[in-house]
Symmetry: C2
Subunit: 321 residues, 2 copies
Amino acid sequence: MTGSEQRDPGGALSRRVPDLGAMELLMAVARLGSLGRAARELGISQPAASGRMRALERQLGVALVRRSTGGSALTEEGAVVTEWARRVLEAAADFDAGARALRGRRDSRLRVAASMTVAEYLLPGWLTALHARHPGTAVSLAAGNSVVVAQQVAAGEADLGFVEGLDVPAALDAAVIGRDRLLVVVAPGHPWAARRRPLPAAELAATPLLLREEGSGTRQVLDAALTAHGGPPAVPLLELASTTAVKSAAVGGAGPAVLSELAVADELSAHRLAAVPVAGLDLRRALRAVWPAGHRPAGPARDLLALTRPAAGAKAALRSM
Amino acid sequence: MTGSEQRDPGGALSRRVPDLGAMELLMAVARLGSLGRAARELGISQPAASGRMRALERQLGVALVRRSTGGSALTEEGAVVTEWARRVLEAAADFDAGARALRGRRDSRLRVAASMTVAEYLLPGWLTALHARHPGTAVSLAAGNSVVVAQQVAAGEADLGFVEGLDVPAALDAAVIGRDRLLVVVAPGHPWAARRRPLPAAELAATPLLLREEGSGTRQVLDAALTAHGGPPAVPLLELASTTAVKSAAVGGAGPAVLSELAVADELSAHRLAAVPVAGLDLRRALRAVWPAGHRPAGPARDLLALTRPAAGAKAALRSM
DNA sequence: CGCGGGTCATAAGCGGCGGCTATGACCTGA
DNA sequence: TCAGGTCATAGCCGCCGCTTATGACCCGCG
């Protein structure tokens, strides 16, 4: 430790990280090569951009741009920081796409209903892509469990639905758009994290777990798999209101949790959680798009549906590295 | 379009997206189940948290928490929004980890030198993981091209280096920690995006491309592959200062670009860029950790190195979905 | 050679937003 | 019934980022 730094480890991230506006400015400067042009693009005055950039560099303690008469170019450090900023802004753009859809509610062109897992982890990216390719599309989003989603689609309250789970109501047509699997995860310090042999299903069933509340799709699939295996349903150690809360508790070491692999991909790759293999338990489930039987999706619904499939191609690209 | 909304499409994202502090507050409320407790954790007063949350809900136009006497629980929409916020904050935490390392510079325990690709796309995640597992470790980061990195490590100015490319200087020991591949990418509207057959290498060599400046590792590998194939080196359409700038230009439709798959994974999965297969051109390259010959990494350097390997396991988890 | 057009920086004023303290309303459990 | 927890409202204030106005600097052009 250098002494003066790190006085607040773990708390108040937003104090140590620059503003989204500052990151946006940095990216604009990187792209346009000039503080003034960046300012104009963002709709602020040139002095404002100059001052903001200076403050940003002061906060980070690093020179980000080399100013000259003919413009401003990134330093090496600036290029690196810009890329980090881009990742943050990309997540923010997903947030924005989702939030817009959530606010829309009525009178929107494309009404989507999605299960929590899809709404949380997949839909924001699809919506940003949709916005990039079809900027005029207004979308509204209703999030709920798979049963509610199916009802809304069947009742004509939503044009397109996304559900996870085993069964599809007869009133709906469906297409599988991906697969999902529940994982048993623990904090890296947990005894299970060191296991090499798969965990017996009976031991999992006997261990109190961090779970979503009863009625969640995740919980249903877990109980179904355990009972199909001949055991009792899962025993809750804590029942928490949201996926995020379950994850936080698991990362904090409260106990083992069972969550969608989509929900824990980040934590796994950052080694904040470890996956525990389980013997002989099928925790896979299909993610499906659903729509009223007979009514082939058209227009905006078709556009969105088209975006959900070729994700396989992108994953293939990642896979090959 | 509902009329009043979307008056500023594409510009000033930071106007439409809540503050990082607001997102942090939302996550704290989700985890702790109470505005007051969240306020205490963030070091602000309870009324401040209350007001901020109210403002957040007003901005998004959605009720996020259900307030009651016994605390505050997330609504369905709140759970979804919280997860989106978590993604943003995770990217912000990576930013923070990188920025800390960048500021450290001198007098730090572990001095890392990394090529641009590694520094931009991989290192922030490793640093957050390192911080999570070994909170006391202070890290400094120098970013530059692979040659500079090798020099710094050889000169003892860095304890551990990360390079991409073909050759490793004799003065250094190295371990391959991953593979990387250059991709030819174009905007979705570009003619090449619709190709089914691979692009002949000669056509690639004959087409002006968006490239990093001469001397970058990416450029070197591309030229090496083209000349090994018997052709001329790449022809620049534009030479840009940073990976981010190249990407922006490519997304904007300026022309084809050649970039690391790590750099374009996000854009590919969001369909802002499309990968173009190229016939008979080997654009793979190894990512290596390097250290002074004979000096096996120990202490913090060993900890960090250990985090870079099991990433393969995490990728395997994603792969299986 | 001096003049416009571009760059960035400095100076001074101002408005808003987020913070604080103080207080009150409300429910619950002892 | 009272203590302790919840959240909300009110009024004040300081900071931070915005604005406009100006100046320094460099380039290319007439």
